[in-house]
């Protein structure tokens, strides 16, 4: 029985009701010593509630928590840490102007002669820890000067510094680049070797399969099953999560490209700090094909998209939409009128006016044209008519034409953006990270819509940081690295090949 390790943490029959509805319905969960146990579920499945109960932020209505076999009751996060449970939230709780070491020891600072903060001791202990676990973080660096991935490691170090042996990570990869995520997984493996038990909350199937030993799937507050990694498949997990089959591989026919709809020639673009982020990019997209731009975040994709859509001035080069060539100072209005649709990468910052209702949001490009308005006079009823139609056609849930965009869930907000852009029948649709932050159901929806647009003969330019997304949607793949297109592939290209180019493993193709 030596192999039968007793659970370090066990949740039994946890039930939590909120005004009549069940957030957690008799959920059992156990964590073995030194394992990574993933908690998988869609947005709203009850993952966070369960972990907030474990962490002492919420009290369960029924059920019990056992640590090392003994029942415990936490009334605050402090209790949880005292019992050896640490949590890393999605939003970091760090003090930007303090150093890494200061942040790590905050609240339990080593002191000299009772009162003086022993900074050297703090730095030394943090440096020791960073070395042990391969954290690659400078203890003396200020937190606002380090990357998001490093900040996350500081959060993990904070927990470890307090001698926790259970670490809960809430959607840890959501804020990371693929490379940073890979680094994080390396760290998690080290931690596992050192005997730390990890709860890994996620809604991304591929990373769960990569890092977890066991996977518990939640759906609508209920535990569906706990499976071990061996034998689990993405399709099987997706079915458990959503309760039906999900097309992970997008069903699409071969592209039949038509006329050139978008042509970009030798484009140079500067970022806000006047650094050249796009360095001579040329490509074209034809009607009826999906051209994807793959690349690690920060290689000029954002600037490229902003330049093409007229949101950012271009230094030199031309952009042609539907045969009309633009150069010099473009504007969003110019590009919209030329037939460009744009699903921006950040729907809150740009894609939606959150305090506008859906009718107003859906009219964002057309409010100044008949029938919405005539001679500057607006007809709100016509905005509502359009909204009623689009809400039905695009299956937008959670509100009507007069609901504020703010009140919708992320997936439905994105549907509003997609509906607005697609309904205008754009010659070119630029989709920048169109599925970021969405759950499986919504991702599937957006993907199907993009393919449908392609099949309707429009050109789609997809910019995505998710290689999976690029591979499953694209008819042609361009790889962007340090502001240049470094590779071009067919839709059936291999993951390794593209991954290598994304990381700069190849020289630019001749422009």
């Amino acid at each position: 029985m030596a192999e039968e390790r007793s659970p370090v943490l066990e949740l039994r029959g946890i039930t939590k009701r909120y005004s009549g509805s069940l957030a957690n319905d008799r959920v059992d969960f156990d964590l073995r010593r030194g394992e990574v146990h993933a908690l998988l579920g869609e947005n709203g499945a009850g993952k966070s509630t369960l972990m907030n109960i474990l962490y002492g932020l919420t009290k369960p209505d029924e059920g019990e928590i056992l640590i090392d076999g003994k029942p415990v009751s936490f009334s605050s996060a402090k209790d949880a840490i005292g019992a050896g449970v640490g949590m890393v939230h999605q939003h970091f709780m760090l003090i930007p102007v303090m150093t890494v070491a200061e942040n790590v020891v905050l609240g339990t600072e080593p002191v000299r002669s009772g009162i003086v903060l022993d900074e050297r001791a703090a730095a030394r202990r943090v440096a020791d820890m960073a070395r042990t676990f391969n954290f690659a973080v400078d203890p003396d660096a200020r937190v606002d000067n380090i990357t998001v991935g490093q900040q996350q490691r500081v959060e993990i170090m904070k927990a470890l510094y307090r001698n926790v042996d259970v670490l809960v990570l809430d959607e840890p990869t959501a804020v990371l680049t693929p490379q940073e995520a890979a680094d994080l997984f390396e760290i998690l493996r080290t931690l596992r070797r050192e005997g730390i038990s990890i709860v890994f909350i996620s809604h991304k199937l591929n990373e769960v399969l990569e890092i977890a030993d066991r996977i518990t799937v939640l759906r609508r507050g209920k535990k569906i099953d706990t499976v071990s990694k061996e034998g689990a498949t993405e399709e099987g997990l997706a079915r458990m999560m959503v309760g039906r089959d999900v097309l992970l591989r997008v069903d699409k026919t071969l592209a039949s490209p038509g006329e050139v709809a978008l042509e970009v020639k030798d484009l140079h673009v500067l970022d806000d700090r006047e650094l050249e982020k796009v360095r001579g990019v040329s490509f074209s997209a034809r009607g009826g094909e999906i051209v994807a731009i793959a690349g690690v975040d920060g290689n000029g994709q954002t600037e490229l998209v902003e330049a093409i859509t007229g949101l950012r001035p271009i230094e030199s080069g031309t952009v042609a939409v539907g045969g009309r060539e633009f150069e010099g100072r473009l504007g969003p209005r110019m590009m919209i009128d030329a037939g460009m649709g744009h699903i921006p990468e950040d729907r809150h910052r740009r894609g939606l006016v959150l305090d506008f209702n859906l009718a107003e949001n859906l009219a964002l490009h057309d409010y100044d044209k008949p029938p919405d308005s005539r001679f500057g006079w607006l007809y709100p009823a016509r905005l509502v008519q359009r909204a009623v139609r689009l809400i039905k056609e695009f299956d937008i849930r959670g509100g009507g034409p007069l609901t504020l965009a703010r009140a919708l869930s992320g997936g439905n907000q994105q549907k509003v953006v997609v509906a607005r852009e697609v309904a205008r029948n754009p010659v070119v649709l630029v989709a920048a990270q169109p599925t970021r932050g969405l759950d499986v159901g919504a991702i599937e929806y957006v993907h199907r819509r993009l393919v449908a647009e392609r099949d309707a003969g429009h050109a789609i330019l997809l910019v995505s940081l998710e290689l999976d997304e690029v591979l499953s949607l694209a008819d042609r793949i361009l790889v962007m690295y340090e502001g240049r297109i470094v590779g071009e592939h067919g839709g059936d290209a291999g993951e390794e090949e593209i991954g290598l180019e994304m990381l700069g493993g190849r020289k630019p193709v001749a422009a």
Binding site: T49, R349, L378
Partner: protein, 407 residues
Amino acid sequence: MSSQAEPTANVPPEQEPTPDFVVRLGAAQRAGGLVVPVLTAVLAFLAGGIVVAATGHNPWTAYKGIWDGAGFNWLFHIPWDTNTVHLDAFNLSQTLLTMTTLILVGLAVAFPFRCGLFNIGGQGQYLVGLFVANWIGVSFAGWPTLPHVLLGIGAAALAGAVWAGIAGFLKATTGAHEVISTIMLNWIAIWGGQYLFGQGGPLQNTYNPAAPESGTVVQSARIPVFWGNPVLQGLDYGFFVALVALVVFWLILNRTTLGYEVRAVGFNPEAAAYGGINVKTKYIQAMAISGVFAGLAGALDMLGYLFQFGVLDVQASQIGFLGIAVALLGRNTAIGTGIAAFLFGGLLYGTTRGLNPNVFDPSLAGNLTSMIQGLIVLFVGADIFILYIWNARRKLKLRRRAEMAAT
């Protein structure tokens, strides 16, 4: 899956653009609905009452005195006697006269607010309108009344638009913050007035070179009075201009493409730009329209009952600043601004000239009245604080809901 899940629960890097003060206050104000402004006013009156009581006076008598001073008791005389020989009716006509100005300077703050701009320059725009109206009103003697009045009003509105438009233009071209530039424009207007009306100034009167005062608006440029005695400062037709301005304000915002654009920019300039709206142009237009309202206020005051203005008046004039309080208390909406202007109009008149000197010790009255006014303004400022508490409670509720629904 529950669609009520907190929408951003799993969408970390997506944040709204860091909103500046105006946007934050605007959002907070919308969240407060009707409850907060009413609560604000009630609290201000309560605190004012405590101050009155602390001086050994009866707060009830004091408020009754202000109520009567504002002429509100007239509203409860049935049958209504419209003869302003009676004090109640006269007081009410004066309250409405003050309200006329307050509506317009309130709208001058409210309109750019909806575009995300904080116009502190209502006073300067009001003064510029006043100057131009005086100039037109003193010149062109012999014109028929209607064209003369319309010319005066139109020119003053235009001047206000240009004056405010400068701040909008600076914001659009150089990014200069409108709060700073409108404050500076206020001072330019004040010193400009000193010069214009001062000794040897181009608008100084022609009959008494020793007096630093403007000329008097000729009869043909005076807006006719419809209630009360014109000699005793009756209520003129400008009152209806202000009421129409409220309607126009609402129509522009809610029934024109310009209003749509202004609101989009006010809520989220980046999304507006993405939608194809020229944000910079909207800044200039919103400020210019704001200046039209403030300039109108100056014109109606000059052609309605002031007729003359002096260097000392320029220095003492404060009414444009009250527009900020009116707009904030009125939630930057048409109806709210109208109600707040009525309230402030009553307070302003009811605590000053309308107040029965027997209510307070005459020497105390002056101080007490400005104290009560000050408290009101203070509490409108405290609005933000009340909203903070109000929202904290709501957020708590929302968080509970989100916890329930979210993962």
